[in-house]
Amino acid sequence: MTAPVLRSHVLSIAGLATRILLDRESDTATVFVHGGVPGLTPYSSGAHIWGAALGRFADDGAVLALDLPGFGGSEAPDAPYSIDVMIDHIDAVVRATGLRRCHLVAHDTGGLAALLLACRRPGYVAAVSVVSSVAAAPTGDGVENLALAYPPQPLGSRESQRWALERLSYSHHHIQDVLDDCVLAAQQTPQQAAAARMADPAARYAWNSSMARAKARLFELCRGPGVPVPVQVVWGTHDPAATIDQGLWLYRILAQQQPVAHFHLINRAGALPFREEPGAFHATIAAFSDAIR
């Protein structure tokens, strides 16, 4: 359930509908960027995925959660889906809302995009919290991850959504609260359009190539100047999509050049630790934020 203080707004950015959740007018905010791959990830991600955790952060200061292109209420540009499209979108939303300073809290693919956005040095990124981001972590020559290998059809159905969320979680108890939002997001035009586009193997290939390029760019930057703002890596102890070792390696890479770098484990949480342990998640992010304020 989304915290009642947050209101949904639809912005028009470059002629495209862009949906955000916002709790108040402010020139500083914690900005939440969800994960997933448009049209492919079998649970519907979007601003709603942060759930009740957002209300805890709203007690500390302004909160903004956005829908990435191809998710929820945000339309995607005609360009092929890529990490760069995500980075540009986050940048456009921050500029459109007039934020002068923000702390990016970003999950999965959003985490990779947020780190690369910080590396562009746009001037307003104060810190990045990367959450359960197998997208940003090195894969090595890992074994295939089968967590989401055989989704029940049709994708986007209630059954399929429940299945995917359960497959990614330590415990299924949080799912009922978000299931309606996920089903609704799956029915919206941006996600339907994304699913249709990703049915094309060329679109999937383009996405995968963009991920590989983005990762290589991140690792190169971390070897060189490093991410220019404080970073923290937050991982669930029971993430079916990513091992603790992957999270720790992402941390090692980021910690090479960025002196203010934290790594955290949230116990008994899967790939969505902010849903399963919102209290521990909030305490972990807020402590980091307090110290660099």
């Binding site: 960025q258 934290h262 955290h264 116990n267 209290g279 402590a287 307090d290 110290a291």
Partner: protein, 313 residues
Amino acid sequence: MTQPDPQSASPITTRQAMPEGRWIDVAGTRTRYFEAGTGEPVVFIYGGNFGMADGASSAYTWSLNLQPLAQAGYRAIAFDKLGQGETGNPVRDEDYTMQAVVDHAAAFLRALDLPPVHLVGHSRGGYAATRLTLQHQDAVRTLTIVNSGTLSPGVGTNEVVLCNPPHPRGSQEAVRWVYENYSHDASVVTDEWVEAVMRILALDKYRHSVQKMAVEGLAERVFLPELARQKGQTLHWLEEGRLQRPVQIVWGYNDRTAVLERGMELFRTVSRHQRDAQFHVINTSGHFPFREHPAQFNALLARFFALQRAQQR
């Protein structure tokens, strides 16, 4: 929802003064302690043990943490352990043990008549805090363990990294060398820190404990064998799931004496049975993350404690 004042965790720009010291009789041992603030009690237990010749921890170790926690709304307390700092020494040779230190710490909590405390222990003090929690669950509300090689399974590397300082034993240079090698950034070892250690090393009662441990051989005959024996039991208790309080483990990433993998292993053990378990790693920090990055460390404490309050509502 009550939140700690965010300003309380802001980077420390002025040196934090220790609050005024006090004395209390703890089961016959004159015990030195320092406290600041009011609210839920937070009790800090530093590392090291009595009778070390090139280093001497005391309550001063927490000088960058007491006032900020007080400002965040807590009663922050640091005391000198049995035989360390200004607190009296064990009377009998057979009490030069970790269990005697733990018993004294538990008696200190009783002497102050404290409600269940947030216990924060570093290094050997992390071991003592955990052992105290296991033996006196009712006295403890939460447990925070910081870079404790003593508690962690696996091989400690203190004796490798810190072996034979290349300076005269007990000299200011030797002390500085030890703490610099514990740290990631040598510049955090301030003159004030070194002076606080030298002050303790110069006390007659401390020199007596050095005589006992190093010269009369109580370290090898009593302290270390007893610690090894009870460590086996303590780890067994953790594996059994006897630790039944919220726990967080905080680790300096660059500690060469208690390396990260040991903290990870410890976390795996405690988090198996305790849901409310967190693990935090701080970059550019050696063995003393609360001195190298006090703002980051203090914020982790304040938010962890606030979470416990929120969960009880």
